[in-house]
Amino acid sequence: MRRLTLLFTLTLFLVTGSVSADDPLFPWNRTPDQQQDSGMLKRIDDWLAYGDPDRLADPNSTASRFRNNLRMTVDIAGRGIVPTRAGNSGSGSVAFIGLDVHKVFSDDHGDYATMIAQPYVTKLNSIKGPHFFESNNDWELVNRIMNINFTRIFDERMNVKVGHFEVPYGLEQPLNTNGTLRDMASPRNLGVKADWGVTLNGQLTNYEYEFGVSRGTGNEFFDTEDPYVVAGRIGTKHDENLILGVSVFKGSVWNPGALGGYKAGLADASGVTGNSIERERYGLDIQYNFERPVSFIGEFNWGKDFDRDVFNSLMEFDFYNPSKSTMWFTQWNYYSEKYTPAMGGWEAAIDGSLGWRWTPNNNWALSVMYVQEVSAKHPGGADKRLGSKFIAQLRYRF
């Protein structure tokens, strides 16, 4: 309630200020002459891209140093979801607004660090979100990626990254799916997609690698129950058409949802307490770019949740037009775990999806995806009905 009051007060302040000001902020409060070439978005965009020319005139000013080699973009997206299960359908939506900032720090000797900051206000509307949301209608400031990569401690062969980064494991590490409908296996396979910590990363002559130690709590940093993650991936270089990678993951991940999934496979879960799940994974990933704009990607993961064997995999075909403004993809996920014989032994959840993304220019992206479950896990013969969902997302960056 306090958040809503704050939001309302800020909005009121902005609107009344705009109406009474000599140079109103919103274009619809201006005369036609004032409106010409002075749209609010145009002005914001000019400021994001170029800054204040008067302040930038002095190369030694703070503004000038901050602006040098800076990319700063406002990213707005709305996502609508229609899930269906056992003949019942519902609807929900998610709204995102955030800043996407990329800054290269340089001095007379060259570049020495790269900063990425992506704070996004994310609002759920009648939908279940990740564990850091308190309810189905909560909003949170989500730190997607927020780190500094120090690139001159050694050379391109070893950099040190500090902050909130994508856990270096599997296809997510080279592909980055933040903010897109299309996702890789990391959220379900690991239970954590991005985490706070430090990595060593670099590019060798024929290989690329990243190994990290992180908190194991995802979006927020806290030490309750001492969670941690140690993860790493080494892969062949990303500019070839066949890219192979191997990954390793060991940790105690603070994720009540993932732990709940584990407990569902136990005949007696009373001995499992807390919110962290012990996980171990070994992964193999592959990307293959065919001669025409078609790609295949796959990820295969073996490991354990506590002492339970797990095998998870993902396979996907991507089809592009030559300019890559349109992309079709079909993705198949296979998540399995070995329950005790009394609970049914190996059980698998399988789902398939068909998606389409259209990027008519650098500002807009429209994505739609249909996901159909084709098999569910039935630990102990539990009744589980198959479901599907249709998701659409409109994204605007400026």
């Binding site: 619809w28 749209g39 145009k42 060259g110 994508e166 500019d239 704009p293 300019s323 220019n361 400026f398």
Partner: protein, 254 residues
């Protein structure tokens, strides 16, 4: 009233599509070509210069070339200025090119006068990429200026002309797309990063370099013999190249 507000917001968002600095992909997906810079310029340092390729830049490119930039070539891009012991020796820039094999991305290395030094594919689906990565092809592009490259392709840049470049006939379209990408890289670098490039030029802008086909003319040979180095075997004279600097701003004598 709500409907009017909605219409205005929609119009604003559409008008906002002219925003030029943005890129469609999130910035966490950006990858600096650090390995390729290290391979193209071993032992050198580099500094990034982020510049915005705008619709005006696109128009200017179309004034200088018979083809121009695709929309996804607009936005913020980086020019890497490479230095050795404080002296700028060249640039590295990555530019995409749309081909029938999908988007091809090439990391270009240019010298201080924006002549091609080398290149490496950052993304290329064509199975014959190894042929164009071979030294036999690369040496035909090295040292070429904008004008020399332009003379190697036809009017719309889709095929090679004459005997300027020797490649298998199967690779003509592929080679033309590489040259097209080189031309756009040179022009975009010259337009967007004019300030950074201008200061480091060895040959002034608007001058043209013409290769001198015969370096050791009889008069040069006579002069060398007078200095008793006419037959000096320590000099590999086959590798010596000479260029004539032609001031493009001066009119030719009638």
């Amino acid at each position: 009233m709500k409907r009017i507000l909605l219409i205005k917001l929609t119009a604003l968002l559409i008008a906002g599509s002219i925003a030029e600095s943005v890129q469609a992909q999130a910035y966490c997906a950006l990858r600096d070509p650090v390995r390729q810079i290290g391979e193209l310029y071993p032992g050198h340092s580099y500094v990034s210069h982020v510049g915005v390729v705008t619709t005006d830049s696109r128009k200017e490119v179309s004034n200088r070339l018979p083809f121009t930039l695709h929309f996804n070539e607009l936005g913020s891009h980086t020019l890497y200025a490479v230095s050795k012991e404080g002296t700028k020796v060249g640039y590295v820039h990555v530019r995409p090119e749309i081909t029938r094999w999908g988007i091809m991305e090439i990391t270009w290395s240019l010298d201080a006068d924006l002549r091609v030094q080398d290149f490496a594919f950052q993304r290329c689906r064509n199975r014959r990429r190894a042929i164009l990565e071979d030294e036999d092809f690369k040496k035909q592009l090295r040292g070429k200026s904008f004008e020399e490259l332009l003379s190697l392709i036809n009017q719309d840049g889709t095929s090679l002309t004459g005997d300027g470049i020797k490649v298998n006939s199967l690779d003509g379209e592929f080679a033309a797309s590489v040259i097209r990408c080189a031309l756009k890289t040179i022009v975009v670098t010259d337009i967007v990063w004019e300030k950074q490039v201008q200061a480091a030029r060895v040959v002034p802008k608007n001058t043209k370099l013409q290769a001198v086909t015969k370096v050791y003319t009889p008069s040069v040979q006579t002069a060398l013999e007078r200095m008793f180095i006419g037959d000096n075997k320590d000099i590999d004279r086959e590798s010596v190249k000479a260029f004539r600097v032609v001031d493009g701003s001066k009119k030719k004598d009638s």
